[in-house]
Amino acid sequence: MTALLSVQGLTAGYGGMPIIEGVDLDVEENAVAVIIGPNGAGKSTLLKSIFALTKIAGGTIAMAGRDITGLATAALVPIGISAVPQNRNVFPNLTVAENLDIGTYAAPPRDRARTEANILALFPDLRAKLGQPAGELSGGQRQMVAIGRALMSEPRLLLLDEPTAGLSPAYLEKIFDLILDVRKTGVTILMVEQNARQALRIADRAHVLVNGRNFISGSGAELLANDNVRRSFLGGGEAA
């Protein structure tokens, strides 16, 4: 199986100071891939540089075998990549329905009504909120709107930057479940997570980033069992 997304030797940062350096990353089709690592390891920068929100200084990015290095964000959406940023991930003064609608502008779905119906089937909570401004929703519901908006362009690859940041533990589980549901619809997921232990549990593939470089990669289960990873990144406890 060839990788859907293939990142090689990616270097990016601000003003000559690289934040990530020579990062390699392959994401298989229809997998959940997770990036974990300590604060300041460059996880978000990696995601942003894949999505052309940060200028890259070196390396290549390929999507389904096609070189997409240097393409602008607006050009990536039609190719089948969508992203959900960590903060400020909804348009607060737009209604939920309008938020979802915005997701179709850069890459109109083939069958808009069906796409929207599928998304609302994934997030039934949103159905009753369609006419409400997204700013009035709870944090978890906003995350659903944000993911829903990103799915409206029918992406093949969904980039999520810390989708559980700031959510209550109850919602945290729910969002991870939803991510697995999204995967079931055929979408490949690459996400950055702080809640490393839970993230590894749902990960097909995980990458640990330290100081802007690849540290270790493996399946979620492998990393959960790895002593070194447990000690350094999972709070030192026993494997759960």
């Binding site: 999505f51 929100l53 964000t73 607006a74 990536l76 959406v77 039609p78 992203a83 959900v84 940023p85 400020r88 991930n89 909804v90 348009f91 607060p92 003064n93 737009l94 309008e98 609608d101 915005i102 997701g103 502008y105 850069a106 890459a107 908006r149 990103a150 362009s153």
Partner: protein, 296 residues
């Protein structure tokens, strides 16, 4: 009562219409480009001169020639954005604010050069007022201005809530970075913002010019009241700006009515200070405006 309506309320609503149409553009530019556009009043002036010139060649009713003035104002706005504002887009917005002061002077001095600094009239002669129910006397222009402004407000609301471009504009105003993530073409949204803001400014300029005369300081003199209206309505809330425009217009005109005793409440020579004072008070006590707009 009749006197109050004929001589205070109707002119106040007319002034409010002018402010409303100017303030919408200021609010949208503030929301989407994130800077206070101090050349907006002068964009009104440009539009008014466009219609004035058109009237020389095609002597019909000035309101029918609004497209000419709007086209001139739109062209001016797009050119200024391309050559003066866009190169500063990546810097702190205050540089764009300073630039817009310069643009205001460029517009005004061009108006003075091309059309002279005299007061010029758009409509010659006197049109008899409309008489309603035998008592209400409304100048035709006032009725037209108020009605047209309300129509524009409804049309703008529909555009912003229903159309793809309108929703993109609100999205960029709400969360510019997320809009970029969603693949929205920000520069296209900015161009549309200028088109709409300049067209509405031109219409406001024509109303103002018909109500009095066309002169190079026409828009600049109205500008601070328009800022007050935009802030009152809440930055990035176009419908709020329309409401704000009417409120400021009413406040300015009605402050000169003889509410107490026989004398005007405020001497008419201080009328414009009312708008300024409301603006300053808002900035201090409620900068998010009455309708919960955004703060920069």
């Amino acid at each position: 009562m009749i006197e109050f309506i004929n001589y205070y309320l109707i002119p106040a609503l007319t002034l409010g219409s002018i402010y409303a149409l100017g303030a919408v553009g200021i609010s949208m530019i503030f929301g989407i480009l994130r800077f206070a556009h101090f050349a907006h009043g002068d964009l009104m002036t440009v539009g008014a001169y466009g219609v004035l010139t058109a009237v020389w060649f095609v002597p019909v009713h000035p309101l029918l020639l609004i497209p000419v003035g709007a086209a001139l104002a739109i062209a001016a706005a797009l050119a200024v954005d391309r050559f003066f504002y866009r190169p500063l887009r990546q810097l702190a917005t205050i540089y764009t604010v300073i630039s817009s002061f310069g643009v205001a002077l460029i517009f005004r001095s061009l108006a003075q050069l091309l059309w002279s600094s005299d007061n010029q009239v758009l409509v010659k002669g006197v049109t008899p007022p409309l008489v309603l129910f035998g008592t209400f006397r409304i100048a035709a222009l006032h009725a037209e201005a108020i009605a047209l402004t309300l129509v524009i407000a409804v049309a703008l609301h529909l555009f912003l809530t229903r159309s793809k471009t309108g929703r993109s504009m609100r999205a960029v105003s709400d969360e510019p970075e997320l809009a970029a993530v969603a693949g929205i073409d920000t520069e296209k949204v900015i161009r549309w913002t200028w088109v709409i803001a300049a067209a509405l400014a031109a219409i406001a300029g024509v109303f103002a010019g018909m109500d009095t005369t066309v002169h190079p300081n026409l828009g600049w003199n109205l500008q601070l009241a328009m800022f007050a209206a935009a802030i009152l309505g809440g930055i990035g809330k176009p419908m709020g700006a329309i409401a704000g425009g009417f409120i400021i217009g009413l406040a300015e005109e009605l402050s000169t009515y003889n509410w107490v005793g026989d004398n005007p409440l405020i001497s008419p020579s201080y009328k414009t200070a009312v708008g300024f004072l409301i603006m300053v008070a808002l900035l201090i006590f409620r900068p998010q405006g009455l309708f919960r707009g955004r703060l920069l």
